[in-house]
Subunit: 241 residues, 2 copies
DNA sequence: AAGTGGTCTAGACCACCCT
DNA sequence: GGGTGGTCTAGACCACTTC
């Protein structure tokens, strides 16, 4: 599956750590030992261990070794590009998606600013409410550049747009910027979500870029206050001071 | 200042990008050219460019080159371990810190759970309100393991605890986990902050670890809804599938 | 075919930790 | 002093883009 040696080492260890085979605090074999085990060079092992370290699986200590961390990998939305479908599967809770809109339109003015395009260009607009445990708690408003997406249907929107884009369209997503803030609820929020007496809502603005750096998607993910959680793992900056 | 070649290359390019000398979309010299320029090997250059790529400065495209991204580096709280002082300086706005408590106490029960210690161990408790533009909008409640911190004063708390810890105490901070959620306001929030009619508040729980992996600090940073913003840059996961 | 970034090698020296 | 991770080298081959 993984043709690269370093990613094979990486997935081997993430699996062992996630399944509990390697428990918190356990010391990994030394880089030289792992290199021998995989019949590869030490630099290749270091590449894999660096990735594990960046993603919060292990911590490396000079002169001592690499140790498994206890960061809980099962948290709600792990930092990064994770779709709603992956999330609900991870949670194992009854979850549903209600597709309200799947239309191709000239880009609305406010969205054109976000996507840095003109109002003449066309976009796909998808509006979906996410229901968890019988309550509609998340409203996703997606806008995709129509020029890079041939077709889009309510069926695809109900399933996973990302699987469709990366699979059938073979688009390659490269990076994204998220902005999280809290704003006043809109009339649309009230209409499409179960908000009760809430006056505010968490808004996650997501700007998604392709491999060639084009900004092709802008998403507003609007979460009911009590159902929002975000987890972030960060290392002290390298190469500073 | 930077003795490592790769971090020298890294800071050279972050500065050129941040000052606008290298503008969005500009193509960097090839890895071979940069290696020649710095009289070093290509792998060392690649290490620096990888860091730039991870931190959202550039994007690398196989067969083409590396390009400067337009991710706005001046956003409010950039993902990572950034102190309030760094933030307010970056914003350039009038900011003040009001120190309410700086005491050494046996660890309260609820905090002992967060810090994974017993209630017999002692902790430093620091409570500070952050004022921006004449309004108290952030409440920071910090708890530090007393065993690793000799002394703490209101003066240090008013200045920068991190500068004190990393400078005078030469503690080395390694990594941290953040959890962001929205909760009901507490009586303490109402007393120490200017909340108006707000019923909710953004809570950022921060678990900070040292180089030897000990969890030595737990912080609850409580932000007024309208003053909270979080930005996150993420690349599509490597080494998956 | 030439140039680019992605992966990998087989060494080297260093800084740090432990005994 | 022996083991560990951190940095660096001078090559190599590959996949991809551009001409």
């Amino acid at each position: 599956m993984n043709k690269n040696i370093f990613s094979q080492i990486y997935t081997d260890y993430t699996q062992r750590i996630e399944t509990g085979l390697l428990k918190t605090g356990i010391k990994l074999p030394s880089e030289n030992e792992i290199a021998e085990e995989y019949a590869t060079s030490r630099e290749t092992v270091r590449k894999a261990l660096h990735l594990l370290s960046q993603n919060g699986y292990i911590h490396k200590i000079r002169g001592k070794g690499s140790y498994v961390l206890d960061i809980n990998r099962m948290e709600f939305p792990i930092s990064g590009l994770v779709s709603f479908k992956e999330l609900s599967e991870r949670l194992g809770r009854p979850a549903r998606t209600l597709v309200h809109e799947t239309i191709r339109i000239p880009c609305p003015q406010n969205v054109a600013r976000q996507l840095q395009i003109t109002e003449q260009e066309e976009v796909w607009k998808v509006v979906r409410a996410r229901e968890i445990e019988e309550e509609k708690v998340i409203l996703d408003k997606d806008y995709f550049l129509a020029s890079v997406i041939p077709a889009l249907t309510a069926e695809i929107a109900a399933d996973s747009i990302y699987a469709y884009l990366e699979g059938d369209c073979s688009l390659k997503i490269a990076y994204a910027k998220k902005e999280i803030s809290v704003e006043k609820v809109s009339a649309e929020d009230k209409r499409l979500l179960d908000l009760g007496r809430d006056t505010h809502i968490v808004v996650v603005r997501n700007y998604v870029h392709l491999e060639d750096t084009t900004l092709f998607q802008y998403t507003e993910s609007r979460h009911r206050l009590d159902k929002f959680q975000f987890v972030d793992f960060a290392r002290r900056a390298v190469a500073e001071e």
